[in-house]
Subunit: 110 residues, 2 copies
DNA sequence: ATTTAATATTGCAATATTACGATATATAAA
DNA sequence: TTTATATATCGTAATATTGCAATATTAAAT
């Protein structure tokens, strides 16, 4: 079938899965890291940073934007893409929570 | 083409992408959360927790295991699946690092 | 008004993912 | 040894993803 049925899961579970899925490609990780390191966020040069053609990069950017990981604003001839802090705060607190719980369980198995 | 070319990215980028991809499905998030909350880790009842058939759950477990997010050991008639703490430590430190950097940048754009 | 530059969209081929029924495997119980 | 139980694998259909060439769009520059 290939289609994920999101109805059966909680909003939170779907939210985390959506964010994780968007980060589930090395090109998109590379894009995030580039946006993180660059001074300004006029980011037309992302294409030059990646081993991918321009339409492919554009598509990856679209997916990151749809997932809420980046924001994009038109600025004249270029687009200003930059990281959406909120999304990463969500991820950090989610994984922080998990590692915290794991710390408490401290190997009662395997 | 549908095939991701991992060669062009760093090991770290591929590692994070692999972990994120494995978490990029709500069923697999639900599995992780169930493993986190359950007392023991004899987890044959994961199937009952999810709205999916047994082969589908087995497949999701395999993916989580391949990505290194869970460990599985045969225990008599059942399988003991449990979370691999290391993987979550990697994710937490990665996202912690990112949110730290974002904190420092503090909105010089968008 | 034309040209240039930056980005997006479309269309398409190759491959991957999701899901499940049927079946295999392997241990435990009878 | 047969039967029951738990999990994995196979085969397959439906859908999604990845990637790019060709083309469209849009605003700046000439």
């Amino acid at each position: 079938m290939g289609a994920t049925n999101t109805e059966h899961y909680s909003d939170k579970q779907n939210q985390i899965a959506t964010l994780a899925k968007a980060l589930g490609h090395p090109a998109r990780i590379a894009i995030m890291e580039y946006l993180l390191n660059v001074e300004t966020c006029i980011c037309g040069d992302i294409v030059n940073e990646l081993p991918l053609a321009q339409p492919t990069v554009s598509q990856h950017l679209k997916e990151l934007k749809n997932a809420g990981l980046i924001k994009g604003e038109i600025e004249g001839n270029t687009i200003c893409y930059c990281i959406n802090e909120k999304a990463f705060n969500i991820l950090q607190s989610y994984f922080g929570n998990i590692t915290g719980k794991l710390e408490m369980k401290k190997s009662n198995c395997c």
